[in-house]
Symmetry: C2
Subunit: 154 residues, 2 copies
């Protein structure tokens, strides 16, 4: 084996890492208008879609661990967008609900996906390409997250 595989341009992880960061950066001007970071926006999207869920469900939907989600939720709570209430059925669980302000933010956020798609179109990236890519990436997520749960069992 040559060491050409150690070259940056032959890596597969590096392009993912770069695109992820560059897209997050592209979101920034839109998100800073509504006062959210990208991970905070993800949490809010989860809650706009299903209000009143447990932290555990948020964590699983975002493939994040509690040590990332806990402080993230605390910051969002301190912004007055959510409330955290301990569940009655299971005293270990915490239920997260949207405040009035949190619900209202959805209106401000609603144009963002469209604006992002326009920006990508402007860079020559088509809706078809995005759609194909989404399917491919979802397969990767499935493959990689199964693998990481194997690790947990181990």
């Amino acid at each position: 084996m040559t060491d050409s595989q150690l070259k940056l341009k032959n890596q597969i992880c590096f392009p993912f890492y770069s695109v992820s960061r560059l897209i997050t950066k592209a979101y920034k001007p839109f998100l800073s208008k509504i006062g959210l970071t990208y991970p905070q926006y993800l949490v809010m999207m989860v809650l706009w879609e299903s209000d009143g869920i447990r932290i555990n469900e948020i964590k699983e939907k975002l493939f994040l661990d509690t040590n990332t989600v806990s402080p993230l939720l605390k910051r969002i709570e301190s912004m007055g967008l959510i409330n955290r209430i301990r569940s009655n059925e299971d005293e270990r669980s915490v239920i997260v609900t949207l405040t009035k302000k949190g619900k209202e933010l959805k209106e401000l956020a609603s144009p963002i996906p469209e604006q992002m798609l326009e920006g990508l179109a402007h860079e020559g990236i088509t809706v078809e390409e995005i759609s194909n890519l989404r399917n491919t990436l979802n397969n990767w997520i499935k493959a990689l997250s199964e693998n990481s749960s194997d690790n947990k069992i181990k």
Copy 2:
């Protein structure tokens, strides 16, 4: 416009964000054996390919800013893998060179790409798919990084 676009599963950025994190996690067992984090591994790959370059070139190859690269290089330097010398030609620039230990680490790192590919193959991801994806992602990087340099000019 419906708000279905605000749903997580219809986002394009979220899969990138997740896959990027999940792949980095998949690298971890291999990288921790040689004592590197993923960003440190990226820097080392750049240097194994072109030793003695300026920080500016590292920064551009990785699409990172100095405020990320500077502390990263300091940590790698404190591990004894690189040296930082101020350039004679341009006193503003810093040249980064590999130490003996840094060069030797390349041997330990060389099996990693192959091992990662095997791991992905085990999850049903083919070499062809990876190759296609790499081309697609490189286009995205081109599109998105041009865009962000536009922002700098603005």
